[in-house]
Structure formats: C-alpha cells, structure tokens
Amino acid sequence: MESVASMKNGCKMLWRFRLRRLMAVLLLVAIGGALCPAVYAEEMDTPPQIQDYLDEPGMSAEEFSSVTLSELLAGVWKTVSGEFLAPFRLLGQIGALLLLASAALTFAPSEGWRQCIELIAVAGCFLLSADGILELVSQVSAAISDWRLYLAGFLPIFAGVMVSCGQSAGALVCTGLFFSMASLSAQLICGVAMPLVRVYLALNSAAGISGVPPLQEATQGLTRCVRSLLRGISIGFAAVLGLQNTLAAQSDNLAMRAGGAVLSSSIPVVGAAAQDALASVLAGLRVVKGSLGFAAIAVLAAAFLPLFARCLVMRLVLAAGGLLAKAFGLSRSGAVLEGAAEGAGLCLSFLVFFFMLVVLSTALMIATGTGGFFG
C-alpha cells in the first residue's frame, strides 16, 4: 500500500515537473515571439516620408556656421522675391486685361454689347487667376498633410521625453488626444474643406460668367458652410486644449508629489539627498523637453511662413484686382476676382488654424510640469 501511494506521489510529482517545464518553454517562446520584431526592427522599413526627414536634415551645423551675412541676406531676398514677384506679375496681367476690356467697351456703348464683351473679360480674369489659386490650394493641402506626417514621427519621441520627465499622463494625452485631434483636423481640412473651396471657386466663376443670381446665392451659401466647418473644428480644438491641460497637468503633478513624499520618507538618512538629485536630473530632462518642443515649432514655422506669405499676398493681389475691375466699371469681373480672393482667404484661415493648433498644443505640453519637481 505504501509503495502504491509512493508511486502515485512520484507520478504526480513527475507530472507537475513536466507541466512546469512545458509552461516555461511556452513562456520562453512567447517572449521570443514578442522580441523578434524588436530584433528585426532595424531591418524593417520606415515610412518613406519619415525616412526623408531623417536622411535629409537640409543643412549641417558646419554649413550653417560657415554662412556669411551677405549670403544669408541674398538667400532671404531670393526666397522673398520668388514669393512676392509672381503675385504682383499677376496683378499687372489683371490690370492690363481690365484696361483692354474697358477700352473695348468704349466701342460698344450699348448695354447688350457690353455684356458680351464683359463675358470675355470675366473669362480672362478667371483664367489669369486660376493657375495661382489652384496651386495655392494644392500647396496648403500638401503642407497640412506633411505636417501631420511630421507629427506622426515627432510625437512618439516627444512623448518619450515627457515620460522621462515624469509626465506619464501628459505623454499619454500627447500621443492620444492631441495627435487624434491633429489627425482629425488635417483629414477634415484636406478631405472636406479644401474640396469645398475648389467647388466654391468653380461656382464663383460660373456665377460671374453666367450672371445668374441663384448661382451667386449658392456661392455665398457655400462660403458660409466652409466658415462654419472651420468654426466647428476650432471649437473642437479649444475643447481638446482645455482637456489636455486638465487631464495631463493635474494627474502628473499629483503623482510627482506623491512619489517625492514616498522617496524622502522611505529611504532613511539619504532620502532628501536622493530627492534633490532626482530633481536636478528631471530639471535637465525638462530642458531637453523644452528644446525639443521649440525645435519642432521652429521647423514648422520655417515651413509655414513662406506659404503664409504666399497666401496673404495672393489674397491682397486678387482683392486689389477686384477693386480695380469695379473702378473700370466691370462689376462681374470684380465679383469673380473678389471671390478668388475669398478662396485664398479661406486657404489662409485653414493654414493658420492648423499651425496654431500644433504650436499651442506643443507650447502647452512644454509649459505643463515646469512648476518644479516635488514643489
């Protein structure tokens, strides 16, 4: 009996040993499967758009330090002249067309013939402004898409730095709430708003060429729709900005204070010194965080400013063309040019909105948690 019982115990122990060995093997396989992608991470291709940012920094530190003041000013002038000369050339072309049209109208004083000649003037004004405004809409859409892609590469790095600064909730909000809002805004702008702006431009020119009042009312209604969309996205952004501050700052501050109290009280003798040392380290990391955030803002600003200037100048030029047309007595041509100016203004609004969304949110993330560690 005792031998049978001992045999049974031996079998049970052997079974348990085999089961434990099997569980250990399964655990090792699971860990290996989880680590394999990390092992081969260097061999996996990064998205080409992000890889472009990593491979082409634009200018190295040595190159930048060797640039003289005259070369810098020449480069700035070249950029500015390229941005401003083309729109003013367009204004000259519009002025020449309007002058020709008003001269042609003097040969046809009758109202019926005036409409025929003004039809040609309206078509000419639209064709002159179409290339510039089409290019502007495409550039704004492309810029917003590029900035969204830039954020996709930048935010994980920034979130990592925030975690090292002890702002875990802030990092979560950064990669979750802010990136979601930025992505949603970019998709709404590129997928809904910009096509609506194109439809608006087409409707505006059709209304000017045909002179049909319902088309003009439809054009105004479409402008109101686009402005309402921008207003809605702005309200959403403001709400997210407030949530970001509330969710991230308060919980991180509470966690930091609790951690500091535990650290200083749990470690005898050197607890306070350890707390001070960690505070110094975290202060340095916050400097890194701030520098990284401001570098991101600077990169976006460098891409934003030329496009902003281009949109602004195009809007001013087209508005001036509209005023000139009305001064020459060509009201329909003036309406088409003013509509094109409104389209440029809408592009400008969306561009500024997205830029401010990114800058304000980044500045808020830089500013949160800088009130001092444990204090």
Partner: protein
C-alpha cells in the same frame, strides 16, 4: 484729336442728318443711302485714330496671352459693325432685320470666345477632380 477735328465730325453728322430728313418725304431710299454714306465716311475717318489707340493698347498685350487680346479686340470690332448695321436698319424702319443683325453679332462674339470658354471648362474640371 483737336477741337477742329471733333467739330468736323459733328459737322458731317449734322449735314448727313439734315440731308436725310430733307430727302425722306420725297425718297426714303435716298435718305437711307445718305445716312449710310455719312456713317461710312465717319467710320473711315475714325479708323486711323482707332488704329493709334489699338497700337497703344498692343503695348499691354505683352502682359497677356495673345488669344485674350485678339478675342477682346475682335469682339469690340464685331460689336461696332453690328451696332452700326443695327442702327441703320432701325432708321429704315426694319426693326426685325436689326434684331437679326444683333443676334448674328452676338453669335460671332460667342464663337470668337469659344476657345477661352473651353479653357474655362478645363479649369473647372481640374477644380472639381
């Protein structure tokens, strides 16, 4: 253009009108012919001055595409000739003929603007893609 030249234009116009009014009770055909002759004389006299204006306007054509410049000048010429013919028909009491001349002029202006309108449609298709 000096005051004497515009005075000459006014003089020719007034003489033509008086002649047409005098001839109308006796022979409406000759009254119409007198009106037509006065119109042709004034147009022929005005053409060199219009050519000078067109030469000056041509200096601005470098800022535009040639197509737009030609289209505008052609439309103005068609409008001028059609308006003149329409007025002569109305003077002769042929309102229906005058309306057809106006219709023909509008169609010709539209035809000359067709290439530009085709480009407008092409831009619309690019906008709405």
């Amino acid at each position: 253009m000096s005051a004497a030249q515009i005075g000459a234009v006014a003089g020719v116009a007034i003489v033509t009108v008086v002649l047409a009014v005098l001839l109308r009770p006796y022979s409406p055909v000759y009254a119409l012919l007198a009106s037509l002759a006065g119109t042709v004389v004034l147009l022929a006299w005005m053409l060199p001055y219009a050519a000078q204006a067109l030469e000056w306007l041509d200096t601005f054509s470098v800022y535009l595409r040639q197509e737009e410049f030609i289209c505008l000048i052609r439309a103005a010429g068609i409008a001028l000739v059609a308006q003149t013919a329409q007025d002569l028909c109305k003077d002769a009491g042929m309102t229906a003929m005058g309306a057809k001349v106006e219709l023909a002029g509008r169609c010709m202006i539209l035809l000359s603007a067709l290439p530009m309108l085709q480009q407008v449609v092409d831009v619309w298709s690019r906008l709405l893609q």
